[in-house]
Amino acid sequence: MEFDFTPVITYFPTLMKGLGVAIFVAIIVALMSVLGGLLVAVISVYINKVLSWPLRFFIWLFMTTPLLLQLYLLYFGIGEWVLIPAVVVGILGLGFHYMAYNADIFVATLKSVSDGQYEASRSLGFGHTATIFYILVPQAFIRSIPQIGNNMILMVKDTSVLSAIGVAELVYASQYAISVSFRPFEFFIVIAIMYYIINVFMELGQVWLERLTAYRR
């Protein structure tokens, strides 16, 4: 049992490339899942009661089945009609998964904004849509920052699962390097540390964001 970290240094550029892809995917998925989740929540709470049932069904479906199964469905399902790169499938799969989780949180926080806010805004001359987007959504959004932050931390860790459908992110890059160097323990330890560091930064960012918005609550 001796460790040899020289292959890790040799393949460090490969790992960095993988890390870059992981961060890129995470950023796109974060934007997609937060904005999409908010949109789904707003539609299902305020705008259209008929449309809200299928939306709730999708939230429920994505929350009760595992991410990997959803990724396989998308990967093979879309692959039947068109050939698109795995990274797009990965972003869509992870995006929809966390969109459902975020929408669930936004639905709860939108409902927690008191009715008086809506009535006051309407009596001050705001329209229905203006009230939703200028008065209710901002308040709900700030209230949901802690939980959305938790979801995003989970999401960054779940980008590792995308290697299963062949997205060239950090785990995939290290699997390639391992297949050449036969040093699984060293590589996986190093990428675990990388994920841990990202995680620490995200937790700090979450604390900072919560402090920044605390006075508005």
Partner: protein
């Protein structure tokens, strides 16, 4: 939708679903003991043991379960730690969820007002007896709820052990999709099975919750 195919694959998927249930149940069982150990370590007065437990929880929660699984399964043999896929899945699953569970248990114990423990101690109860007959019954409802959420996480996490070739529900589904090219049909059946498992777990949690709160009036 090809219903004949759906009927044909159901027995295979049911068999695989049983593996999912088996692995999840074992991970939860052993994970609970890991969690109790961690909670105990964090309650000790000897600081290094507390730091060790805190560091462990932080490391587990800060890294993906997927990477932990790969590290133990592929990296383990090079430090002389060789496990077969199923055992490895249960092992990593238990040690992973144990860290999350220890936080849930600690949080629910700390949610009980400290005056309860003080009052009990001043009435002559011992430390262990205070914990068992005064604090834990009051912490139970919250503990059951938060452990229940983790139980569902365990069921969904168990899909990841398909990567180390354990033939569980997701592995079987992926293999069948690959051989039949009917993703939607296979997905429908396997998703249905996951949903049934998740709802069964939720039902058990609800029963336990009702039992824990049967004497409380709110």
């Amino acid at each position: 939708m090809d219903f004949n195919l759906m009927v044909d694959v159901t027995p295979l998927l049911l068999k695989a679903a049983w593996v999912t249930i088996d692995v999840s149940a074992r991970s939860l069982f052993f994970g609970f003991f890991v969690a109790c150990g961690l909670v105990f370590m964090q309650s000790l007065r000897f600081a290094p043991v507390r730091w060790l437990a805190r560091g462990y929880v932080s490391a587990i929660r800060g890294t993906p379960y997927f990477v932990q699984l790969l590290l133990v399964f592929y990296g383990g043999p090079s430090i002389g730690f060789r496990l077969d896929p199923l055992t490895c899945g249960v092992f990593v699953g238990a040690f992973n969820i144990g860290a999350y569970m220890s936080e849930a248990i600690r949080g629910s114990i700390e949610s009980v007002d400290s005056g309860q423990a003080e009052a009990s101690r001043s009435l002559g109860f011992g430390k262990a007896q205070t914990l068992i007959s005064i604090v834990l019954p009051q912490a139970a409802p919250l503990m059951i709820r938060s452990l229940g959420v983790l139980a569902i996480v365990v069921v969904k996490n168990s899909s990841l052990i398909s990567i180390i070739s354990v033939v569980e529900l997701t592995y079987q589904a992926q293999r069948l999709i690959g051989s039949t090219y009917k993703p939607l049909e296979i997905f429908t059946i396997s998703a249905l099975m996951y949903i049934v498992i998740v709802y069964a777990v939720m039902g058990i949690i609800e029963l336990a919750y009702r039992r824990a709160t049967r004497y409380t009036t709110l």
